[in-house]
Amino acid sequence: MTSDCDCPAPPPGQGLTRRALLRTAAAAGALGVVTTAVGESVTSRYAFAADRAAYTGDVLVVLSLRGGFDGLGAVVPAGDPDYLRLRPTIGLPSGALLPLTGIFGLHPALAPLLPLWTAGSLAAVHAVGQEDPSRSHFTAMAELERAAPGTTLRTGWLDRTVGLRAPGSVFQAAEVGSTSPSAALAGPAPELVLGSIDDFDLWGAWDDHQRQLWTTTLQRMHAGAPAAARAAAGNALAAVRTTTALAAQAKKEPVPAGYPKDSELAKALRDVVRLVKAKVGLQVACVDFGDWDMHSDMGNADSGRMHDHLDELARCLAAFAADLGPLLDGVTLVTLSEFGRRVEENGSGGADHGHGNAVLLLGGGVAGGQVYGQWPGLADDDLVDGDLAGTTDYRQILAEVLVRRCGLASPGDVFPGLVPAPLGVVRPRS
């Protein structure tokens, strides 16, 4: 990384510039203490499990926009005087956008989300970053999901979140629509990886008796297996009874309208709604929507990779909210991506890896219709190494959601060393 001399001065009390990063690094000793405290709370959680009240907070849905979501192309700062200068080809003029507040407008492909924005269930936070930015997909993603910079913690933030709660059903924390779990779920708290509800069954089990035989046998065969293999087997077997019942029920009911056809994201979000409606104890759901690494051919307002991908995202989220109906009041969805894209476009009609990004929040408890965060500007002096500066640590958003909507008492238990600075992007759960 280059020196920090080109950074803008952080506003008092907040900001996430390299200077702030250096201050945090100096406090590494204090972080060590916090790390230990988290470690203890994780290892002792089983001892106190019986004392803990059943979870009553929101279902938290984390939608991972993998590959580096271009927040600048989705929640567009069209009113920033430098925006079109740096993006002469892929930039969208304000006339092409759906106007929001201030300098911002939505990419027109996000039109299906406008009613949710107007109704106040959808908000954006802009110029969101990580404390220790990396332009490596893999490092940035790993750090994003670990969410414990400056510590040696190896667990993911959702694992720590769930680990503080009373043990729940096998559906307590689930990766939905994918065959591999988000690293945010990594750690001692169990997670279910659910590719698809309708496919989640044992082929050899044609009735309850056969299912019982399979389940008992496979359980006994895995008794001495390495812990990870044993947990995966145990979770799969525990979930099968419920998924098969839900699949049978679905055969009798039509698929709700609005979900795009042939969309993996649509299938995954639809499955999340089914789990919410079935009240199987879902507390945390991770869903992936990748392919945002648009180094080329991003396109414009009417066509191109960005347009098509945003269109799918918007139609899926709108259908998700409609499908939930009043249950949206108890659901908060947050989008996260490992980094935003470079402000200046490259020679391939795309943008390379960058930093500052936009986060979207959807839910009944969201104080929507607003773009939150402090806009750092796009003038040369405002950029950090050519990137949008991160003025809001993404953990502040997650901490606020966890505290106000998901019953977390102390944000430091999940995000070691974080000094809470809520933005007011969600309302406390009533």
Binding site: S136, D201, L213, T216, T217, L218, G224, A239, V240, G347
Partner: protein, 472 residues
Amino acid sequence: MPGLSSEADRLAHLLRRTTWGLTPDLVARATKLGRAAWLEQQLRPASVADREGDAVVDRFPTLALTSAQVRSRYSDGSWDVMFDLGKAALGRAAWSRRQLLEVMVDVWSNHLNVTCPSDNVWDNRHRYDADVIRRHALGRFADLLKAAITHPAMLTYLDNASSTKKAPNENLGRELLELHTVGVGAGYTEAEVRDSARILTGLTVDDDGAALYRPRWHWTGPVTVLGFSHPNASADGSGVVTAYLDHLARHPATARRIATLLARRFVSDTPPAGLVDRLAKAYTAADTAVAPVLRLLLTSPEFLASADAKQRRPLESVVATVRALGFAQARRGDDELEGLYWALESMGHQPLAWPSPDGYPDVATAWTSSAATLARWNVTLGIAAGWWPKGFAQANLAALLPRPRPATHGALVAALGRRLLQRPLPAAQVTAICSFLEVGTRTPVRADSAVVGWRLPYVAALILSSPVHLAR
């Protein structure tokens, strides 16, 4: 964990790590040769007669086409040849006798991943497999690297084909450092990433899909990356590229990285530091040649001490299932490979298909998914029962039963276990499978017992769903 007290156990351990799964035939041939001679033979794949592997290749004549021929015979953007490559990869893993070569092809295909299928490599991904990965899989890493980075498939996959001096695209220049060579911890700066991308400008692809060096696109001026410096004054920077890639291939950080990669593949998810040190030294001493490193690795005390420390990933588990069952490739059509290919999708592990440039992870924690576990159990039963994937030749389960037939259910399940796993199935699991059959271990087996009839595929599938089968 069983100690490797006998030479037979040491050989079986070597075979579990260096092949796609044990078969009675493989064990017999390797036993006859002996551990060292078998390994030497595998390190020189051309010396291994491979009728079965050749037969797989013969089933996919598209793989011999040039990119230009693919372009003229298929509609633009067709995925057909890429799917053929994926199916052939499965077939070669399952039936080729050049097993270590097939393992290393998988290792390098992931290390230098070009996602197959993906949009822009539809006409050249099979050439990348043949002309880059297979050609250099057991040769020198420096040659492999140079062939990979300058190949049209990599140039389009990581956007170098459209990178120009005016607006360099950093994608390939960055991943070259981060993934392909020195690694993210090597201490390079963002300025060095930019220079890495600048060095590569000019490497592009022509309108017919062939590699092309375009001097007018090449950024000129001094460049410095991790000890590599060059005035880079000429518009023809192809010599700078070669010197740069040679420098990176020989960099000590790359030596450690390749040593770690191989030790992780063949020894442990957390390879011993001492072993990695020795392998890195061997890599440097051999001027990036791979075979001497593998030879040292596979005869090291750390390797011998690591039995069962690795877990089979879904692709390895499913191919090992086909091999254990002794199923042969289809005599016509490719139903069996097509079925396997899509079955692996449900486990997130189709061959060559990892969606990002870092390749499939090779540590057990990345594969502990309830969805993939359930899919693996189902596909194992599907294969054994002939439901799906189907279309194999010689898919006769009765041939697996020991003769004379054991007298009790317990003895029969144990014998079938030993046949399929090439080692004992633990007694508790034998008992569990007998409960599945709703009999006791001592219940006699009769000619009309379900276990030798309609339940036989279920028993074979349960044995191959055992955690024992998952150990690599």
